[in-house]
C-alpha cells in the first residue's frame, strides 16, 4: 500500500517542481524521472495484487463530524488492472514528451507538465478510491487538468472552441453525477461504495422509478466522458488539440477510465437486479451506435489526430457492447456473461495500449513535419522506419488482425453477442438485435482496418513529401516509447493466456457469482466449449504455433528466390509511359475510398452528413415568446419609468436654484421663516 503513497508523493513533487522550471528539456527530464519512479511503484503494487488476487483497503482520513464520508483507498484486481495500464502509458507518454516538446517553440512548459502530472494523479485517484464523494473530487480534478491541456495552445481558435465544448459538456454531466450522489446519500447516509450497495436495494424496492433516474444520471455522466455518441460530440473537437503526448493519455487512459467507472458502478456499487439487465441492454445499444457512426465517420477524416479521436469513440463502443451484453445476461446465463465481460475489459486493456501508441505516432509525424494533415505528408517511412512499423503494428492491432492483441478481445465480444441466439428464454427481437450488433461490429472492424490503412498508406508510404525538417532527427526517447507500446501489443497478441487470466481475476473481483476460469476458458461448461487453451489436438488458439509453419513457408520461398538469383535494379516509378513529376500525380489521403464515402454521405435539410456524422453540429435554437422576455426584464417596465419620474421631479426643483439670484434669496428668506415657524410650532412657543 505504501507504494501507492510513494507514487502519489513523487507525482505531487513533480507537479510543484515543474511549476517553477522554465527550461523545456529540464522540466521534461524531471517529469520523466518522477513519473518513472511512480510507474515502478504502481507496477509493483498492481502486480502484487494481481498475482495474489487480494484486496487492500485503508481509510486515510475521515470527515465524520461534518459528513458521513472518509477517504477510503481500496485496490482490488480491477483497480490493479487499471493501475497497470496507467503506469505503462504514463511512463511512455512522459518519455515521449521529454524531447517532443521542442516542436513547440513559443509555448512554455509551465503550462503543460504540471497539468499532465495532475492528470496522472487524478486518474490514479479515480481508480483507487472506494468512496463516492472523493471519487467525484478526483473525477472533477481529472476533467479540469485535462481541460487545461486542451486549451494549451491559447492562440488557436479550434483549441478554444474544443476546450469550451469539453468544459461545458463535462461539467453539465458531472452535475448529473453529483445529483445522483446526493439522492443516494439521502437514503444511504454514507458515501462509501459498500454502504450505497446495501441501501440501493431499498431504493430499488421502494422507488423503482427513482432508482432508474439515478442509474440514468450515472450512465450519462460516464458515457459522456467516454465519448459515446450522441453524447460524445465534443470528443473529436477536443482530443486533437493538446500536444500528442497528452492526447495519447486522453485516448489511452482517460476515456477508458469512464468505462472503468461504468463497470465499477454497475458491478460493485449497484447491486445486481432487474435494473442491471435493462441498463445492460441500453449500454449495448449506445455502444453499437457509437461503433457504427464513430468508425464510419472516421473513414471520412483527413487529419490524423481527428481520425484517431473518432476511432476512440468507435472503440469505446466495443467495450460498452461487451459490458452491456455481460450485464444483460449476468442473471440469465453466467457463462455468457463472463465471456462478454472479460471480452469488454480485455478490449479496454488492449485499446489503451494501441490507442496511445497511435497518438504517439501522430505526434512523431507532427514533430518531423509540423502537421498531421494526411493530405500534406507522405513517404515518411524513409525518414522514420521504426515509427512506420510501430504505426502498422498499432493499426493492425486496432483492427483486430491476428496475431496482434485486438484479436482475442474482439473475438470474445463477437462470440458473446452472437451467442445470445441460443438463449431461448430471451425475447426473439432482443436476440435478433444482439446478433445484428455482433454483425455490425464484425463489419466495422473491417472499416477500422480500412481507415487505418489509409493513415499508414498516406502518411508513411509513397513519395517523400511535405515540409520536412531535415535537421531534426527523431530522438531515441520518442522511438523507444513507441517501441515499448508496440512490443506490448505483439506480446499480448502472441501469448493471450496471461492477460486473459489477469482480466478474468479483475472481472471476478466485482462479480463473485461467475463460473471459474477453468470452466469458462479451459474445459466445457454445460455442453459449450470455448476451450481456447486446451491441448492443441482438441482445438486451441496458440498463435505462436500457427506462426511457425508460416515462417517456414516464407523462408522457403525466400530461399527459392535466392537460388534463382534474380538480378536487381533500381528504377524510377512508371507512370504508364508518360513523363510526370511526382507532385503532378500524387494520390492524397483525401482520395482514399471516395466512392464508399459518397455512399455514406448525404444531406438532410441544411445539415450535410459525412459518414453518417454531421459536418457541422446544428445549433439548437430556443424561441421564447417576446412577452415572457418582457416580463423578465424588470428594468424595462418597473425600474426605468419610476426612476425617470423621480429624476424629472427633482430636476424641476433643481431649476429653482439656477434661474435668478433674487428668487434664490427670496426662497432663502421664505424658507428660513418656514423653518422658524415649524420649530416654533413643534416646541409649542417655548423657545
Amino acid at each position: 500500500m505504501q507504494y501507492l503513497y510513494f507514487s502519489f508523493l513523487s507525482l505531487i513533487f513533480a507537479m510543484f517542481l515543474t511549476f517553477f522550471i522554465r527550461n523545456k528539456n529540464f522540466s521534461g527530464f524531471v517529469t520523466l524521472i518522477m513519473t518513472s519512479f511512480s510507474s515502478l511503484c504502481l507496477l509493483h503494487l498492481s502486480l502484487d495484487i494481481i498475482i495474489e488476487n487480494k484486496v487492500v483497503e485503508q481509510e486515510i482520513f475521515s470527515l465524520k463530524p461534518l459528513l458521513n464520508s472518509s477517504l477510503i483507498i481500496g485496490i482490488d484486481s480491477l483497480s490493479a488492472l487499471f493501475l497497470l495500464i496507467i503506469s505503462l502509458v504514463s511512463f511512455c507518454v512522459t518519455l515521449f514528451s521529454w524531447k517532443y516538446f521542442e516542436a513547440y517553440k513559443t509555448e512554455s512548459p509551465q503550462r503543460f507538465y504540471p497539468f499532465l502530472v495532475l492528470l496522472f494523479i487524478s486518474s490514479i485517484g479515480v481508480v483507487s478510491v472506494k468512496e463516492l464523494l472523493f471519487f467525484i473530487v478526483f473525477w472533477e480534478l481529472m476533467t479540469l487538468s485535462s481541460w487545461f491541456l486542451v486549451v494549451f495552445e491559447r492562440e488557436k481558435r479550434s483549441a478554444l472552441k474544443g476546450g469550451l465544448q469539453y468544459f461545458i459538456t463535462a461539467h453539465v454531466t458531472t452535475a448529473f453525477l453529483i445529483l445522483a450522489s446526493v439522492i443516494v446519500y439521502s437514503y444511504s447516509n454514507d458515501f462509501s461504495f459498500r454502504e450505497i450497495n446495501k441501501s440501493f436495494l431499498l431504493i430499488i424496492d421502494k422507488h423503482p422509478y427513482l432508482s432508474h433516474f439515478i442509474l440514468f444520471c450515472i450512465f450519462i455522466a460516464f458515457v459522456t466522458k467516454a465519448g459515446v455518441l450522441p453524447f460524445g460530440f465534443w470528443l473529436p473537437n477536443a482530443y486533437p488539440q493538446p500536444p500528442s503526448s497528452a492526447s495519447s493519455f486522453f485516448g489511452g487512459v482517460m476515456s477508458k477510465l469512464a468505462v472503468y467507472a461504468l463497470f465499477r458502478f454497475f458491478s460493485s456499487v449497484i447491486p445486481l437486479s432487474y435494473h442491471t439487465q435493462v441498463w445492460g441492454f441500453i449500454i449495448a445499444v449506445f455502444g453499437v451506435f457509437s461503433i457504427f457512426i464513430g468508425t464510419i465517420a472516421a473513414l471520412t477524416q483527413d487529419e490524423a489526430k481527428r481520425l484517431m479521436s473518432f476511432h476512440a469513440i468507435g472503440q469505446v463502443g466495443y467495450m460498452l457492447l461487451g459490458i452491456g451484453v455481460g450485464l444483460y445476461f449476468i442473471n440469465i446465463n453466467p457463462f455468457l456473461a463472463t465471456v462478454s465481460l472479460v471480452g469488454g475489459l480485455f478490449h479496454v486493456f488492449n485499446n489503451s495500449i494501441y490507442k496511445s501508441l497511435l497518438f504517439l505516432n501522430a505526434g512523431a509525424i507532427f514533430y518531423k513535419t509540423g502537421t498531421t494533415d494526411l493530405n500534406k505528408v507522405s513517404g515518411l517511412i524513409k525518414l522514420m522506419p521504426l515509427t512506420a512499423i510501430t504505426a502498422l503494428v498499432g493499426s493492425l492491432s486496432i483492427a483486430g488482425v491476428p496475431p496482434f492483441n485486438g484479436f482475442i478481445s474482439k473475438l470474445l465480444i463477437f462470440e458473446s453477442s452472437i451467442w445470445s441466439a441460443k438463449q431461448s428464454d430471451v425475447l426473439f427481437l432482443i436476440r435478433g438485435l444482439f446478433i445484428v450488433f455482433g454483425i455490425i461490429s464484425v463489419f466495422i472492424s473491417a472499416v477500422t482496418l480500412a481507415s487505418f490503412l489509409k493513415f499508414v498508406n498516406s502518411a508513411f508510404m509513397g513519395k517523400l513529401r511535405g515540409a520536412i525538417d531535415e535537421k531534426r532527427t527523431l530522438p531515441w526517447s520518442m522511438v523507444l516509447s513507441q517501441m515499448i507500446l508496440a512490443l506490448v501489443c505483439i506480446i499480448t497478441g502472441l501469448f493471450p493466456f496471461i492477460p486473459l487470466k489477469i482480466i478474468y481475476n479483475a472481472t471476478i473481483s466485482c462479480f463473485d457469482l461467475l463460473p471459474s476460469f477453468s470452466s469458462v476458458f479451459i474445459v466445457d461448461f454445460k455442453g459449450v466449449g470455448i476451450n481456447f487453451f486446451e491441448n492443441y489436438s482438441q482445438g486451441a488458439w496458440y498463435p505462436i504455433f500457427v506462426m511457425i509453419p508460416l515462417i517456414l513457408l516464407s523462408s522457403l520461398i525466400f530461399a527459392f528466390e535466392k537460388y534463382a538469383k534474380a538480378p536487381k535494379r533500381d528504377v524510377e516509378t512508371w507512370y504508364g509511359g508518360k513523363e510526370h513529376s511526382p507532385e503532378e500525380v500524387v494520390y492524397k489521403g483525401h482520395s482514399f475510398y471516395q466512392p464508399f464515402k459518397d455512399l455514406v454521405s448525404f444531406r438532410i435539410g441544411n445539415i450535410q452528413f459525412k459518414g453518417f456524422y454531421p459536418v457541422k453540429i446544428p445549433k439548437i435554437e430556443f424561441k421564447i415568446p417576446l412577452k415572457f422576455i418582457k416580463i423578465l426584464n424588470i428594468d424595462e417596465w418597473l425600474y426605468y419609468p419610476v426612476v425617470d419620474r423621480i429624476t424629472k421631479f427633482f430636476e424641476f426643483f433643481g431649476k429653482i436654484y439656477e434661474i435668478i439670484t433674487e428668487k434664490y434669496i427670496s426662497w432663502l428668506v421664505f424658507g428660513s421663516i418656514f423653518v422658524f415657524v415649524l420649530l416654533f410650532y413643534i416646541f409649542g412657543g417655548k423657545l
Binding site: 473491417a446 500457427v546 516464407s554 494520390y587
Partner: protein, 304 residues
C-alpha cells in the same frame, strides 16, 4: 483427432491450395481460350510462368522495406487460411472455438498484404488499386461473415468443423440454403475476377496494384491471386456444399478437387461472358446482397 491427422491434413491443405493452384489457373486459361475460339496455352503454362518470373530481373522503384516483405505475406496468409478449411474430412486441421472469426480476419490479411505492397510501391495507379481493393473487401466481407454466422447459429458452435458436421448430417434448411446462394453470388467478388476485378483493371489503371511489381515479387503476388481462387472455391464447396463424403481422407481430397474444378468452370464462364463493373456499382451490388443475406440470420433464429 490425433496429431498425425492434423499434420497430414495441414500438409494436404497447403499442397492443394498453394501447389495445385497454377494447375487450376491453367485450366481457366484453357477454358477461356476455348470460349474465345483459340487454342490456348498448355495446362501447365502457369507453372512455367511462375518459375520463369522467379529468376527475372527485380526492378526496385522504392527503398521501402515493406515493399520487399509483403508479397511473401500474401502467399503465406493464404497458406494459413487453407488450414481452416475442412478438405480431408469434416474437421479442419486448425480449429478452436471462434475460428470462423479467425477465418474472416485471415482473408482480410490476404487483402492487407496486397494493399501494402501496392501502396509501398509509390505508384499512383497502385494507390487507386489499393483503395478499390479495400472497398471491395469492405463490401464483400459481411456476406461471408453473415453466411458463417448463420451456420454458427444453426449448429450452435463457432467452429467451422462443427458447422460442417451439422450441415452434413442435418441436411440443408432454408436459412443455410439462402446463405449458400448469397456466398455463391459473392464468389466472383471474393476471388477478384471479372466482373469484380476492379482493383487490377488492366485497361483502366494498368493492372493497378500489380503495376510496379516484377520478377520474384510479381511471381509471389500472382501465385497468391491464383491460390485465392482455389481457396475461395474450396470455402464454397467444403463449407456450404459438404456432400458427398467418405471415411477415407484421400478419397475426400479427390471429391473436393472434382467439386472445385466444377465451381472454377462455372466461375470462368461468368468471367469470360461478363464485362467489368464500376466500383460504385460493385459496392452497391455487394452491400445490397449483404443486407439481403441478413434475412438468413433471422430464419436461422426461427430455426428453419
Amino acid at each position: 483427432m490425433n496429431t498425425e491427422f492434423i499434420i497430414l491434413s495441414s500438409v494436404l491443405n497447403i499442397l492443394i491450395v498453394l501447389l495445385l493452384s497454377p494447375l487450376f489457373d491453367g485450366f481457366t486459361r484453357k477454358i477461356r481460350a476455348l470460349i474465345q475460339s483459340r487454342v490456348g496455352p498448355p495446362l501447365l503454362q502457369s507453372y512455367y510462368d511462375l518459375l520463369k518470373l522467379m529468376g527475372k530481373e527485380d526492378l526496385k522503384s522504392t527503398i521501402n522495406p515493406l515493399f520487399r516483405l509483403s508479397p511473401y505475406l500474401s502467399v503465406v496468409s493464404i497458406g494459413m487460411a487453407s488450414l481452416l478449411i475442412p478438405i480431408t474430412g469434416l474437421v479442419p486441421p486448425l480449429n478452436f472455438w471462434g475460428d470462423i472469426f479467425l477465418f474472416i480476419y485471415i482473408i482480410t490479411v490476404v487483402g492487407i498484404a496486397i494493399i501494402i505492397t501496392a501502396s509501398a510501391s509509390e505508384n499512383p495507379f497502385a494507390y487507386i488499386g489499393a483503395s478499390r481493393k479495400m472497398m471491395l473487401h469492405l463490401s464483400v466481407e459481411p456476406i461471408l461473415a453473415i453466411a458463417l454466422i448463420t451456420g454458427a447459429i444453426n449448429a450452435g458452435s463457432f467452429k467451422i468443423g462443427d458447422i460442417v458436421s451439422w450441415y452434413y448430417s442435418n441436411g440443408p434448411n432454408v436459412s443455410m440454403l439462402l446463405s449458400t446462394v448469397c456466398v455463391f453470388l459473392s464468389l466472383q467478388a471474393l476471388i477478384g475476377k471479372i466482373p469484380f476485378d476492379i482493383s487490377e483493371a488492366e485497361q483502366e489503371i494498368a493492372e493497378g496494384v500489380l503495376i510496379e511489381l516484377s520478377g520474384p515479387k510479381y511471381a509471389c503476388v500472382k501465385w497468391a491471386n491464383m491460390s485465392r481462387q482455389v481457396l475461395f472455391c474450396l470455402v464454397f464447396t467444403q463449407i456450404f456444399i459438404p456432400w458427398p463424403l467418405s471415411e477415407n481422407s484421400l478419397i475426400n481430397v479427390i471429391i473436393a478437387l472434382i467439386k472445385v474444378t466444377a465451381i472454377i468452370f462455372i466461375s470462368t464462364l461468368i468471367e469470360s461472358l461478363n464485362p467489368r463493373l464500376r466500383i460504385d456499382q460493385a459496392l452497391k451490388y455487394n452491400l445490397t446482397l449483404a443486407l439481403f443475406s441478413l434475412t438468413s440470420i433471422f430464419l436461422a433464429l426461427l430455426g428453419v
